[in-house]
């Protein structure tokens, strides 16, 4: 919105593919649905949980929403994995090239250096590191989803089909699964709605909202400042021009903005409710 030289009609750097953006948007809807319906159960002893549960049409329908969203979320996860395979075939000759290449999501030696240099920068002991295409905190967020999918997903399925799972597991594992599921969910929601939101929305230089995950585009000027290493690389390889695209018309931007703000609002509300439940009504 207030990015420098965000002039209408000026071509912007395309950072995210359309599929990635679609998956992220779908994930937002699923995640919020899961968080809202799940938290009503976790904090059932609070008034807001009861009201929320009734808004969802009762715990039964809330349960259906929760499981439906969970299924879609798994679909999102699988789609992303399939996309990775397709991308490897299309753009990289081998997994090694893809995972060890410059745009890898895996942590690299540079990331370790970036962490160190970032801390120096924070403390005024050095310049801002030359962040590349994926910063270390972006990589952390990315793998947090993998961790969460495995931990919350597996325990969730255990709770969904306890009769089947107890054919193999002892009954008390259901209790353990419930604790892991709910506490990991608390971690996920807490992390997403605070740290992740800060990184993308509340960071003063991005405030109030970084639209790149929705539009997929960022002004070249911003790229230059934010991810200098990426910019340098694009310029050096001469690929910057082919990665530029026409920005969306303002009406689309507005629609996206409304969606994003809604999601943000719900996220913050959940944080407030959780804090209220933990601080004032904990048991």
């Amino acid at each position: 919105m207030n990015q420098p030289s965000n002039n209408p009609g000026e071509r912007q750097y395309l950072r995210f593919t359309r599929l990635n953006r679609l998956l992220h948007a779908t994930m937002i809807v699923c995640f919020l649905s899961l968080a809202l319906t799940g938290m009503t159960l976790k904090f059932s002893y609070t008034g807001w949980a009861s009201i929320l549960s009734h808004l969802f049409g009762g715990y039964e329908s809330a349960g259906y929403i929760h499981r439906f969203a969970a299924t879609v979320m798994v679909g999102v996860f699988i789609t992303h994995l399939v996309d990775l395979v397709r991308r490897k075939r299309r753009e990289h000759s081998s997994w090694k090239n893809m995972l060890a290449g410059p745009d890898t999501m895996l942590p690299t030696r540079k990331d370790a250096a970036d962490v160190r240099d970032s801390l120096r920068w924070f403390l005024g002991m050095g310049p801002r590191p030359q962040y590349g295409r994926w910063t270390y905190w972006e990589k952390f967020d990315y793998f947090a989803v993998f961790w969460g999918m495995v931990v919350i997903g597996s325990t969730g399925f255990t709770l969904w089909f306890p009769e089947t799972f107890t054919l193999l597991l002892p009954g008390w594992m259901i209790n353990v699964a419930a604790i892991i599921h709910s506490d990991e969910a608390l971690l996920a929601t807490g992390f997403i709605f605070t740290v992740h939101f800060f990184n993308t929305h509340l960071r003063p230089e991005k405030f109030p909202m970084d639209m790149v995950i929705f539009t997929g585009m960022m002004p070249v000027e911003e790229l230059k400042v934010d991810k200098p290493a990426e910019y340098e690389k694009q310029v050096a390889e001469g690929t910057l021009e082919e990665n530029l695209a026409e920005p969306y018309p303002p009406i689309v931007i507005r629609g996206i903005r409304i969606f994003a703000w809604t999601a943000l609002g719900i996220g913050f509300s959940i944080v407030v409710w959780i804090l209220y439940a933990m601080v004032f009504a904990y048991r």
Partner: protein, 678 residues
């Protein structure tokens, strides 16, 4: 006196004289002669087929030697009775003269001769009974011998041969009473004799005498109006003492002509079904009291008696003077001798005794102005039965009746200090109240079903029907099946923990706000009811999925009673418990059809706060919490450290993008506005 004269004609006396005569007679005769004489007759008469003639009719003249020998007359010569054969050659002439029992039984015979039976016999009435018709002939036995037809147990059947409905005597002779045997057998006398085998119970002969029965119109009859009291007091010797509320002791005999006789109230043959001849003096009373303007000279209250109310009342057949006791018919105003108020106890003694012991009765005793007396609930002259819909004591009207004093703010409610408030409103909304008032279900529990009608006592009183010890039995009068289950459960005082306050019905269901057990509201509150005693276990329940869903206000999940049972709760160690090893899987399967043995291992009351009981859950929880805290600590610190630099970057960028001279003013102002908005 009158009594002695009547007594002299009674059966017992007659029988005694007769026996005495026989004994004297037997003692005089030498044994050898007697034996020979009887044996002589029996040489012919022991033949079963021997026949003779009597007044032109062929009859069997067989004499059963055994029966005769066993009879009271077994030691007599045949000629002692068949006197016309004395000194005759054998075989003797036929067509003997009838045996005259009176030869020996003089007194009895005289009584019999003057009785209805005797007179009929003299008239030549073919239906008239003669001695052998009742006593038999050669086999006469003592009345006290149970085989005798005149033994007390046999008397109603003996008399009934002629006096039962449809018998020639009953239909062809002037017998005024009907259904004598049926009525007798249902009366307290008949019941005592025939059902309970009480041989001292009054039989026909006890009242009518054995031999001197006379119509009640005959002044000499034992059932003549003047003699009835004497007849009844043979057995009911102290009856005047217990009837002193109706009549002053000695009056019955002294003034038998003015007082009601026993049978005026206790109908003959139907004794027990008390029946009072109506209108004995009511007309006299109503001469004054039917006038609407009549008032008491003492306090001016109206003494008017509305006849139309009296006519439909339960006491329609009760005479005024029976309730307003103490009248003196000798006075011009018989009521001027009345000194006591109406005492319902004179007839309703049992109820009155219960009432006296009740809270209401005690208030009366203390002369409390608020005390409800009989008339408070039952009314006065218009008193109706509790099965009459117009009655204030009809089940549907009872809550309204009690509410007159027990509604919040009324005189009974204001003195009450317990925890049951707004009982009338609560009751009306309860399942019982709605059943009664909305559905008109008269068998629904209302006030008196639980509190009793006349024995109302506070809960603390151990005799009270609503004392915790008695509540299961009280509720069990209707909910019997539930009571049976409850009595076998861990909450029953015979089974449950000793010395602990165990719950009874109302602890879970409440007293006046009882709801349907399948109502959502009830299902949700019941968990809190369990939690009042099982505090810890209820709390941990709310830590699990079942509890959390319930807490959200939904009932389609397992609640206490779904697993533990409702009324048949037993410790899980009990094999019959729903949660015993044998039953727990089936219990889970009620909701989870695929449940298996391992599934039942789910910890339904697990908490992650107890490291001793649930170490795995405890450490899982703290492991997860550690992860959470660690993640937030690292990322939070990272963010906080980043924040100053990020702000710095923003300022720098704003400076860099300060409007160059080529930019339009509109754009410039838009960019300048942004930071101030934040």
């Amino acid at each position: 006196m009158l009594t002695e004269r009547t007594q002299s004609v009674l059966i017992n006396r007659g029988r005694q004289y007769g026996l005495l005569a026989i004994l004297v007679f037997v003692g005089v005769l030498p044994a050898s002669v007697r034996a020979q004489a009887a044996a002589e007759c029996l040489t012919c008469h022991e033949n079963r087929d021997l026949q003779g003639t009597r007044r032109g009719k062929t009859i069997r003249v067989f004499v059963d030697q055994k029966k005769f020998a066993a009879s009271v007359h077994g030691s007599l010569d045949c000629v002692a009775c068949h006197a016309d054969l004395a000194g005759k050659e054998m075989p003797h002439d036929e067509d003997l003269a009838p045996v005259v029992c009176g030869t020996c039984h003089e007194k009895v015979a005289a009584e019999q001769a003057s009785s209805l039976h005797g007179k009929a016999a003299r008239r030549g009435d073919a239906l008239a009974p003669r001695c052998p018709d009742c006593h038999g002939s050669h086999g006469v036995l003592r009345a006290r011998d149970p085989r005798s037809p005149v033994a007390p147990m046999q008397v109603p059947y003996l008399c009934g041969k002629c006096h039962k409905e449809g018998a020639p005597v009953q239909s062809q002779r002037a017998i005024h009473a009907d259904h004598i045997l049926e009525n007798y057998s249902e009366s307290i006398h008949g019941e005592g004799l025939l059902r309970k085998g009480l041989v001292v119970s009054a039989t026909c002969a006890s009242c009518h005498t054995a031999h001197a029965m006379l119509p009640h119109t005959d002044p000499a009859s034992s059932i003549a109006r003047r003699n009835i009291a004497a007849t009844c007091t043979q057995c009911h010797a102290q009856i005047e003492m217990v009837h002193r509320k109706v009549i002053k002791g000695e009056l019955w005999e002294r003034e038998a002509h003015v007082l009601p006789a026993c049978v005026d109230c206790h109908q003959p043959h139907k004794a027990r079904k008390v029946f009072y001849d109506q209108g004995m003096a009511d007309k006299d009373c109503l001469r004054c009291h039917a006038r609407p303007e009549i008032v008491s000279s003492k306090n001016g209250r109206s003494l008017y008696v509305a006849q139309e109310l009296l006519g439909t009342s339960r006491h329609v057949r009760t005479a005024c003077s029976q309730c307003h006791a103490g009248v003196n018919v000798a006075k011009a105003r018989p009521c001027e001798t009345i000194t006591q108020p109406v005492d319902c106890a004179s007839c309703h003694a049992e109820v009155a005794q219960q009432y006296t012991g009740s809270m209401h009765g005690k208030l009366v005793e203390r002369q409390d102005p608020n005390a409800p007396t009989c008339i408070e609930c039952h009314g006065t002259h218009a008193v109706l039965g509790k099965h009459q819909p117009q009655s204030a004591t009809f089940s549907i009207n009872v809550p309204k009746l009690c509410a007159r004093c027990h509604r919040a703010g009324q005189k009974a409610a204001v003195r009450y200090t317990g925890d049951q408030l707004n009982i009338v409103e609560h009751y009306n909304e309860s399942i019982h109240g709605r059943g009664l008032t909305k559905s008109g279900l008269t068998v629904t529990a209302m006030c008196t079903n639980c509190h009793t009608a006349h024995g109302v006592l506070p809960r603390k009183d151990p005799r009270s029907s609503i004392n915790p010890a008695n509540v299961p039995a009280t509720c069990g009068t209707c909910h019997h099946g539930i009571e049976e289950q409850f009595r076998k459960s861990v909450h029953a005082d015979s089974i449950g923990a000793k010395g602990k306050q165990l719950p009874v019905c109302d602890d879970c269901h409440s007293a006046h706000t009882i709801r349907r057990a399948d109502e959502e509201g009830f299902k949700l509150t019941i968990m809190n009811q369990c939690g009042r005693c099982h505090e810890q276990i209820a709390k941990t329940y709310f830590d699990t999925y079942h509890g959390k869903v319930s807490q959200l206000g939904y009932t389609k999940t397992a609640k206490c009673y779904d697993c533990h049972g409702a009324h048949d709760i037993l410790p899980v160690t009990d094999i019959r418990s729903h949660l015993s090893r044998e039953n727990v899987v089936a219990t889970c399967q009620k909701c989870h059809p695929g449940a298996n043995r391992r599934f039942a291992g789910y910890l339904t009351h697990a908490t992650h706060h107890d490291p001793d009981k649930y170490p795995l859950l405890f450490w899982t929880f703290w492991g997860m919490t550690g992860l959470l805290v660690g993640t937030f600590a690292v990322s939070g610190l990272h963010t906080l450290l980043w924040l100053p630099r990020a702000i710095q970057m923003r300022r720098q960028r704003n400076r860099l993008s300060a409007p160059p001279p080529t930019q339009t003013t509109a754009e410039a102002s838009a960019q300048d506005d942004e930071p101030t908005q934040q």
